[in-house]
């Protein structure tokens, strides 16, 4: 077996040193009833590298990849061009095959990269500090709610109707068990960002631990969070902002600048591919005064015995391996390599690249929205958006999406899939446009929509 260096004579020699007759002697503590006599039944035997490549390659070819044709899917996962050097860096064995940096003297590479990552995320979000990553945006969102509960000692969170329905679902699942109270709402196709802000401002009260608002929202709407932040603070509540498309922050004022206390989100757009939903990277930032209530790992600056600058994992007294049941979270493994991909891509972009990329996304999205508005029967939503917007079709969008996909056009995410309960949302189609979208792609989508709606 190509991954196993021990040879039969090595094994014999080692058994001799141990003083065991056979390998079975080393498994004596396993109850007899649970010892298998041979290999596990029902599984194939080993395969060559070529055989495995063939088997998995065949499965890969059965999928309709984003690059296979015109592509407009978003809803929390976005197709962006990732420079080739990002993947090269994260495949370096020293990053790929290292562990959590518990021995900082031989993990300065990971630790310094994480320190840079934390700084980039904090600045992007307009917050003072950020952690070294969470699993993904949805779990970061729940952790933020738990953190707000700890800070405010209140148990009610108000979730915006613009929060990604899967994020809502994750929070509802957890709240069912922890006893947190969640007030949720559904997005309205005929509403506006301003109406939702007004609703939330009216809803926040002195029992509220936090208001959770996604910007841009699930339908693509962009809102000014400033008044909501003031309303939260007036009632002693925190504002949690969720960002599922980090590229938007190259153009839009950050949630921190608008007054959000905790900003979390999905970092996938920068450096991490679509990967059918994972692994992604959760981003988590807040004000410095709340850092001891923050979940997850933190890299911090210090000096070594010679006085040289170096980095270590710090404030670990918040974490499970020290505090056990009193920890701020149970998170251990996070999303380190995806955080590295994020940081390398962000470094390649820089301020200029990120701003230009965001402006390009927005300009192409505006053009596409204007073109789609001319498709008979299609209505484009009103109001501000970044690179994603909602169309209202004259009939349910789900079969339309399927029909377009069969014709090679991945034309968007049906709101009918995200909101199975209907109530008018089933006619909504969420369309995302990025720097990877060409004019021909937009024409193909218009054509496919016309055909499907005819």
């Amino acid at each position: 077996m190509r991954y196993l260096p021990l040879q039969p004579e090595d094994r014999q020699a080692m058994l001799g040193v141990i003083g065991a007759k056979s390998i079975d002697d080393l498994f004596v503590d396993v109850p007899g009833a649970a010892r298998l006599s041979g290999t596990v039944p029902g599984l194939p035997m080993h395969a060559t590298e070529l055989q495995v490549e063939r088997q998995l390659g065949r499965l890969a070819r059965m999928n309709q990849a984003a690059g296979d044709g015109p592509f407009f899917l978003g809803a929390g996962a976005y197709k962006h061009h990732v420079p080739a050097s990002v993947d090269h860096i994260i495949q370096r064995g020293e990053f790929l095959t290292s562990y959590t940096p518990y021995q900082p003297e031989i993990a300065q590479g990971t630790l310094q990269a994480l320190f840079e990552f934390q700084t980039q995320v904090a600045r992007l979000y307009g917050c003072e500090v950020a952690n070294a990553s969470m699993y993904d945006g949805s779990t970061a969102c729940w952790e933020a709610i738990v953190m707000a509960r700890r800070i405010t000692r209140r148990g009610k969170a108000i979730l915006s109707g613009g929060l990604h329905p899967h994020y809502v679902s994750v929070c509802e699942t957890m709240a069912k068990f922890t006893g947190d109270v969640l007030e949720t709402a559904l997005p309205k196709l005929d509403g506006t960002a301003e109406m939702e802000m007004a609703r939330l401002i009216a809803a926040v009260d002195t029992e509220t631990s936090c208001v959770v608002v996604q910007n841009p929202g699930i339908l693509g709407r962009v809102a000014d969070l400033s008044e909501l932040a003031e309303a939260c603070h007036a009632k002693g509540a925190l504002l949690i902002a969720v960002v599922t498309e980090p590229v938007s922050l190259g153009l839009i004022r950050s949630p921190g600048e608008m007054g959000a206390d905790i900003v979390v989100g999905e970092g996938q757009s920068i450096g991490v591919g679509l990967q059918f939903g994972g692994p992604y990277v959760g981003l988590f930032a807040c004000a410095e005064k709340h850092v001891r209530q923050m979940p997850g790992r933190l890299a911090g600056e210090t000096v070594d015995a010679d006085g040289k600058r170096g980095f270590v994992l710090t404030l670990s007294t918040r974490e499970q391996h020290i505090r056990r049941e009193k920890a701020t979270s149970n998170i251990c493994t996070n999303s380190g390599l995806c955080a590295l991909a994020f940081t390398v891509h962000m470094t390649l972009l820089g301020e200029k690249g990120l701003r230009d990329l965001a402006a390009l996304n927005h300009a192409l999205a505006v053009q596409a929205a204007d073109r789609l508005a001319r498709v008979p029967g299609v209505k484009v939503m009103d109001g501000a958006f970044f690179n994603e917007f909602t169309l209202t079709l004259p009939k349910p969008s789900r079969p339309v999406v399927r029909e377009m996909a069969r014709n090679g056009v991945l034309g968007g995410v049906s709101l009918g899939r995200l909101y199975p309960d209907g109530d008018g949302r089933e006619n909504g189609l969420l369309v995302a446009v990025t720097e990877t979208t060409t004019g021909e792609d937009v024409e193909a989508l218009c054509g496919a929509l016309e055909e499907a709606l005819a």
Binding site: N63, P279, C332, L354
Partner: protein, 524 residues
């Protein structure tokens, strides 16, 4: 002149005392290269990407555009590649040598896994692609699920948890949902003192009270103490098997029977599955739920701290409560069961959703490549070699260092030692730092908590006999120095990119983001 990393940044020269070798102008020493922070070499106008001209359109952002710099310096591509390549060289990694971090299973990460995960059909697939266009991805998820079920002899599975601790949470939520379905919400989870910190943290995160169970002198769960702690309030027990002392819990079946008798469930922390994979199936030991770290047993890379993947297998009793989404095979077609299909597919007991999409697809593809490569026969050999190597280390060093459980029999895939025989003032930490100078990553230290000054050594099946012998020689040498009170050991490491780092200072006054030097001075 090249602009690459020529910003004028200079590493701070050390205060001296490291060696008699003359200082260099740059602070570098040949291949030992210092590297500044991105913020010290990049600038806001520099970029490593080229973008096309954008069409001129009127903004539709309602005046919410940024009006201040963000503060994100960029680098050109050669500068960026060099910056991160230089940083990479300051990391130890499994690609460089033996990485005996107990309970972490640092085994070789095959590059075939990486190649397969990067096939465009997997890597460039959107999670909300219409299901007809995702049949190959769902087939991979289903394949990994079927392998894990077969390897554990357990009928149910949740694939979406993102890491081990997330899997623990999934298992406990299923247990809680099962109790609540019977109208019998319970409050307490029993956790042995030797457990990973994630166990009690997870139980608390899931809304349970945690009650500790002591260990016996031979490093196993005290069955009598466990039985005495059982009551109708106990929802279940979290057992790690093989446990964190590297020992198999001989009483596992009896533990399961006692817990089941009071209506509780057995959660098994599968962090140490590498010791038994292909040889022992946890379902045969009375386990109701167990997470499997694909980033340990199934060779997906640790990546400097993640991402991981922690699928959870379930017994018949808990299987119906597994969270959404999951993949089912109906004849030749794979179906993704999500919120909308729950009722019609008869999965109304599913306890909810744990992540936005379908779990760590990139890790499933890697694990699938590993499973198919090894096959049932290869995986059996994996656990045998892992256990053989750990016992070889245990018996080679038990005369040198205190090995508290060595007299009670063989260990599983990790060997545990203690600081008992070290000279006054010498600790486990000194041995760990001494191993760094010998060119090894240290073992896990000060864990499990039930052994004073613990050193937990997990070699995995990845090492040749020659590599094991070299490590044994190195550890013997460093341990002898600790026993002899060699004060030079207190200064270790001296050959690493950094000497011992001041963690106390880091925590006392945390510096978690880079600040402009001027600002930093003003703040002081």
């Amino acid at each position: 002149m090249s602009a690459i990393n020529q910003s004028g940044w200079r590493p701070e020269m050390s205060a001296g005392g490291e060696s008699d070798a003359p200082a260099t102008y740059t602070g570098n020493r040949a291949l030992m290269l210092e590297e500044p922070l991105l913020f010290e070499i990049g600038d806001l106008d520099r970029t490593g990407v080229d973008l096309p001209e954008r069409p001129k359109v009127a903004s539709r952002l309602a005046g919410l555009e940024r009006n201040r710099p963000i503060g994100l310096p960029g680098l050109s591509e050669p500068e960026a590649v060099r910056h991160y390549t230089r940083l990479s060289r300051q990391n130890y990694a499994i690609d460089l040598g033996l990485f005996p971090l107990g309970s972490c299973t640092m085994k070789h990460n095959p590059r075939l896994n990486e190649k397969m995960a990067r096939l465009p059909g997997f890597a460039d697939l959107h999670p909300l692609t219409p299901v007809d266009g995702t049949q190959g991805a769902l087939a991979v998820i289903h394949l990994v699920a079927e392998w894990l079920k077969a390897l554990t002899n357990m009928p149910g599975i949740a694939m979406s948890p993102k890491a081990g601790a997330h899997g623990e949470l999934c298992g406990l939520l299923a247990i809680r949902a099962a109790h609540e379905a019977k109208g019998d919400a319970r409050k307490i989870i029993l956790v042995p003192e030797s457990a990973h910190g994630t166990n009690p943290a997870t139980a608390a995160f899931a809304g349970y009270q945690v009650k500790g169970i002591p260990a016996t002198v031979d490093g196993r769960v005290d069955l009598d103490a466990l039985k005495a702690a059982l009551s109708p309030e106990v929802a279940g027990v979290m057992i790690t098997n093989p446990n964190t002392c590297g020992l198999f819990e001989r009483d596992m079946i009896a533990i399961g029977e006692a817990v089941h008798a009071i209506g509780g469930y057995v959660y098994c922390d599968g962090a140490n599955f590498n010791a038994i994979v292909g040889r022992v199936r946890p379902g045969d030991l009375g386990v109701d739920a167990m997470h499997i770290n694909l980033h340990k047993t199934f060779s997906t890379p640790h990546g400097g701290g993640g991402p991981g993947s922690g699928p959870v297998v379930f017994s018949e009793a808990l299987a119906p409560f597994a969270p959404l989404p999951f993949v089912e095979k109906h004849d030749d077609r794979y179906v993704l069961v999500e919120e909308e299909t729950v009722a019609e597919e008869g999965h109304s007991k599913a306890f909810g959703r744990m992540v936005a999409f379908h779990g760590q697809m990139g890790m499933f593809t890697r694990a699938a490549a590993y499973m198919l490569s090894h096959g049932a026969d290869g995986l059996k050999q994996v656990s045998e070699d892992a256990v053989l190597s750990a016992n070889y280390i245990l018996r080679s060093l038990e005369g040198v260092m205190d090995a508290p459980f060595a007299p009670s029999g063989p260990c599983m895939h990790e060997a545990i030692f203690s600081d008992k025989n070290f000279a006054e003032g010498f600790s486990t930490l000194d041995v760990a730092k001494g191993l760094i100078d010998e060119g090894f990553h240290p073992m896990t230290v000060y864990f499990p908590l039930v052994v004073h000054g613990a050193m937990l050594v997990e070699p995995t099946e990845t090492e040749s006999k020659a590599a094991l012998d070299q490590f044994i020689g190195a550890l013997r040498s460093v341990a002898e120095r600790a026993k002899a009170g060699d004060t030079a050991l207190k200064a270790a490491p001296i050959y690493a990119p950094r000497r011992r780092l001041d963690e106390t200072a880091a925590a006392r006054k945390p510096v978690l983001v880079w600040k402009e030097p001027v600002q930093a001075e003003a703040a002081e």
